[in-house]
Symmetry: C2
Subunit: 369 residues, 2 copies
């Protein structure tokens, strides 16, 4: 195998593919990246069995071939090569891949290409299409709400739910829930499946938010799913199990309705969070009254912090406390200039929505104080 | 106590003073910062008994007074205050310091000011003066070479040596040595003392490299030393013991003399260091021959990296290996466009100097391969 390519193309591809290289590989080959040069294309693969990624970049192939090298080392050396173009070859040595650029050369030990577990496409004809940027937004607005706790695997992924011509993504850790929906161009058979959060985070970073023309095709079976767009192909093993019914978590009505400027509210919560993080449960208190909200937090060992923000308050006055991280997280993904908060009492979940957007809701359970 | 001040002044002062707050305080007061408002000045002190720092900023004092608060928390909240001006007061509560700015308010528990160990000036009339930027350069070019190992405390500081109208700073860990000298404006009595590296690093960061007009006054006794400049006063406890004689470490002659472009050499060493750091002793090999130097490193488990740099080589050809960190470190502080390397054989220390600068030398012991 011998080819040359632009450093920038290879660096960008590796940055994406590296996410599917096993962090704690069970066998050395799973720490590897598979390379296959043929004609004007280099195929790059990584596979940790939960996520598999395949991408292609334009190269100038002199000798076709395939090999596997340590993903981490290959990425690091490619990134630090001195010149804009790189030549890569295993022609001069049986067990080494030579990487050359601007007078610098590196040799990396190779592994056997046939040992590498190639990424597979699921055998299915079930598929749908969605704009890449729409998928990116659905992921961005929900994936942060998944559970970090592997004891309940079903909560570590986002549930994709297709009903007619509508897709919803739902993520929850049982204490909070994010739900984002989007219209599809066609009607598809109803289905639901849970995709690992890590796969979705990698995918989100790969999608250019300005690329509003492109579509991603999603093929799925009962156990696997693939995202296909550009020169990219991402395979994910679906999380097994039944995603819990979440409709009953969404409050049907509210007795206190708040409208507040997103940027001001975010700045105030961020400020008070400096004190909240010193408390046992990261507790921040919101006092909705008198045309404003007082955001405060107190730590017996350190002191207290308070910030007031103007707000439109419709209905009953209310004091309610939350884990500050649950509030900080949603404020990072709200795109609207204002945010609506619907509340009932200090023990009931609060609903955060954007004005004039029925496709997004975030529910947070309060801290009992 | 009640005063108001600019957030930027207070933030900058705290960033400097915080370096003298104990990281693992033996008593809570040592985690504190002492504040004293009087007239148009706020005095800020921190003292961990190894380094003591006093600085002053302009404030508008309404009520004079003094207090002590947690340094870390005070710094964090001040930095995040929303407005450009801050009002600070302990008038409304016996045990709380209120910090207010742009509608945000914080209360921090205070400690008893009289419990705080105030920074003392040494009782001595021995002192000398040096331009602040010259002191900064002396520190920058030597302090990185101190030992990180507390088993031999004398090696964890820089030795200040005054002989006539010349000052030298020397740092060593017994495997490498950096020596920088500077002319003083007057002749002073000969003396030598060892200042903790941490104190010097903090001082170096505080000195504006563009401020070439100012002088720092250094007062010293047998146990303490103080640096005084601007509104800053830094006290250091000298490290006890005898700094070892280092003259014999400096090679008297050399059989291979190399001149190489600093930037090219640095880039090549940085590149090869990616492989060196995977080896047991961070080993990088330099092959000085044929009008160039080949820089290389090999790891049995990973592979190898090589980069060639053009160089003027006068004398014998030579292969020699170093701990790559010893080379990377000195290349960060060399200001000259070219660097001279003087060598003898693969077992003897190498000397790194700047052309036309007799005031700087760096010695590194090779790795035996």
């Amino acid at each position: 195998m011998k080819f040359s390519c632009y450093k920038s193309d290879l660096t960008e591809a590796l940055q994406f593919v590296i996410r599917a290289v096993a962090v704690k590989p069970m066998t050395p080959i799973l720490a590897g990246i598979y390379l296959k040069a043929e004609g004007s294309m280099l195929e790059i693969q990584a596979n940790n069995f939960s996520t598999g990624i395949v991408t292609r970049i334009p190269v100038n192939t002199e000798v076709s071939g395939e090999t596997v090298v340590s993903g981490k080392r290959f990425q690091e050396f490619v990134r630090n090569m001195p010149d804009d173009t790189i030549t890569i070859s295993d022609e001069d040595s049986a067990n080494n891949l030579a990487i050359e650029s601007g007078g610098a050369s590196v040799e990396l030990l190779t592994m056997t290409a046939s040992d590498f577990p190639k990424v597979k496409t699921p055998e299915t004809d079930r598929s749908f299409k969605i704009r890449t940027t729409a998928l990116r937004d659905l992921i961005r607005k929900t994936v942060f709400a998944v559970s970090k706790d592997n004891d309940r695997p079903i909560f570590t992924g986002c549930c994709f739910e297709i009903k007619g011509d509508k897709i919803s993504l739902v993520a929850t850790n049982a204490h909070r829930l994010a739900l984002a929906a989007e219209q599809l161009n066609e009607t598809y058979p109803d289905s639901a499946f849970v995709v690992p959060a890590d796969t979705l985070r990698g995918l989100m970073l790969r999608i250019d938010p300005k690329d509003v023309e492109n579509y991603v095709t999603i093929n799925y079976s009962t156990r696997y799913l693939t995202f296909t767009f550009d020169n990219v192909f991402v395979n994910a093993r679906l999380i097994e199990g039944q995603f819990p019914p979440y409709d009953r978590v969404i409050p049907a009505s509210s007795t206190t309705n708040v409208k507040v400027d997103t940027a001001e509210f975010r700045a105030a919560v961020d400020f008070v969070s400096l004190m909240s993080k010193e408390t046992e449960y990261n507790t921040v208190k919101f006092d909705f009254a008198d045309g404003g909200v007082e955001i405060s937090s107190n730590s017996p060992e350190i002191g207290g912090a308070v910030k007031n923000v103007e707000a439109e308050i419709d209905g009953d006055e209310l004091e309610i406390s939350f884990n500050v991280n649950y509030i900080v997280d949603v404020l990072k993904v709200i795109d609207a200039k204002q945010i609506n908060i619907a509340l009932n009492d200090k023990y009931s979940p609060a609903a955060f929505t954007e004005p004039d957007n029925e496709n997004y809701i975030y529910i947070a359970t309060p801290v009992r104080t």
